[in-house]
């Protein structure tokens, strides 16, 4: 039987413009992307906050994915909203508008039923809040965390305190450079591992990902896609697929961890094929397995 994964992060309504289209008020936020991605593999316990305007259909969608919403607090007011526009080169984007709304006062509280979650993922929120979530959990087996440039700059001490308790830190390459002060990714990884995390996943978007542990490095390319509609949430979906797969297999190191990273890549590769969580709404586990096999074929020179 799968372990369950407790995840805390943002739940948002996003409005997204890309060079080829746009979408308004779609389900977004790190916690939503992570949870839906992870739900293909394991039971998910979500911790977040939304306003009274949060659409019933999005709640129903997440419940249909087996996501436990007991820890999704509903507060009088408006849900977190983000509006962004991607450049012609979709590695770059501008935030056009950001309204924290009820998320600005987010103080995550775990329902008692969540406290036995074996895995926990602390998506991108203030590091002090990430630590507070961890302290509310019982006997967890594996802690994952993400962060962002803002916290690395503004809450470095809180972040370093958190990192001592993290098993897998999942960040992108520019965050790794900022956190370590090192441009070379191998040197950066070594410095970050010295800060506490047992493993470091560096996400490189269309170029794939690297996993560094004390005595091991794993590299996986991204799945080459002909159409990238919307990169929003790809990193959170990567982490969701990764932690979902770890929860499902119970193998947190070695081959189990490598396979989980490939599952993360697979789910992320689907996520960018439509706006928001559009593609994941129709995705099946069979399609996930098909693309996993395609990934094996894409990268195989071992046989």
């Amino acid at each position: 039987m799968s372990h369950s994964v407790c995840v805390v992060g943002s739940v948002a309504l996003d409005s997204i413009k890309t060079p080829t289209g746009s979408a308004d008020d779609v389900l977004g936020g790190s916690c939503s992307y992570f949870s839906v991605a992870a739900s293909f593999f394991a039971p998910i316990n979500m911790v977040g906050v939304v306003g009274s305007d949060f659409p019933e259909e999005e709640r129903a969608f997440m419940e249909s994915r087996g996501i436990n919403l007991e820890g999704l607090e509903v507060v009088d007011g408006a849900t977190f909203r983000w509006t962004g526009r991607y450049h012609e080169n979709m590695n770059n984007r501008d935030t056009l508008d950001l309204q924290l709304n009820v998320f600005g006062e987010f103080d995550p509280k775990l329902p008692p039923s969540y406290r036995d979650s074996a895995l926990v993922f602390l998506a991108n929120i203030q590091p002090g809040l990430q630590t507070s979530v961890l302290s509310q959990l019982g006997s967890y087996k594996l802690v994952g965390a993400d962060t962002m440039d803002h916290w690395i700059e503004e809450s470095r001490d809180d972040l370093l305190e958190l990192l001592a308790d993290v098993d897998i830190l999942s960040i992108n390459d520019s965050e790794a450079e900022q956190l370590s002060g090192e441009r070379n990714v191998v040197v950066a990884a070594r410095k970050i591992l010295e800060m506490g995390p047992k493993s470091l996943l560096i996400k490189r978007g269309e170029y794939g990902a690297l996993l560094f542990s004390a005595n091991d490095v794993f590299a996986v390319p991204a799945y080459p896609l002909e159409t990238v509609v919307d990169p929003t949430g790809a990193g959170d979906c990567f982490a969701g697929g990764l932690f979902g797969s770890l929860a499902e297999s119970g193998e947190f190191t070695g081959k189990g961890l490598r396979r989980a990273i490939v599952y993360g890549s697979v789910v992320a590769s689907f996520a960018v094929e439509d706006f928001g969580l559009g593609r994941l709404k129709t995705l099946s586990r069979e399609e996930v397995e098909e693309r996993y096999k395609a990934f094996m074929s894409l990268t195989d020179f071992h046989s």
Copy 2:
């Protein structure tokens, strides 16, 4: 027994500045990098031109690698010289000085002994000259080619004529975008394959490489290196390792091609560890095999 590889391109003396050091008048040029890299796997027949100032020790070095220099013409005058400076981000560089010298009048002529080379690699020179080399060869089995932004812009018709006869085109991602007019690498590759080449290798530097054929895609990450001293010639060394391995195995498709691409990555990963061809001067085939095994371990999730 290995097939032999005929290669035509530039032979130069390079002066290189990087953020951490510099080297003056070191052996460079696409033909030199390719030949030395390929010489770990197969006999190489070099076609190029140098001036009367070309150092005897560099000639002796190449001969010590078993490279046939019968087609390396020596002309009164000075050898091609390039001076460049890399930025802090070594993906970017400026050419500070370029003196074509005797290379400006290069008109490649193949010695009769080269005409039975089974493989030919047309490194980056004017596409009309690349075609002229091909027409001087007998019954070759496999044609590889490289090109650059200048020829894509200035000699597009000559280049398209050449591409009809190319088995493996080896270019970098910005050249693929320029040649195809497409930013998405999968769409770009499809368009370029329609121009003639049976396979397209897209080199992405520290992010690895992609091989596209009609019904197959192969992706390999780059070997993560803690120290990159000088990226000059890495792409030529990649092609050299690739074509050397193909010549050695005689397997030009499928698994043989994939293994050859990994050998290309391996040799390129050594090449950047020192200025110019410094690292390859001491490299052994045993070290190549060790890093090939490290590459398998780096990328394996298949077992």
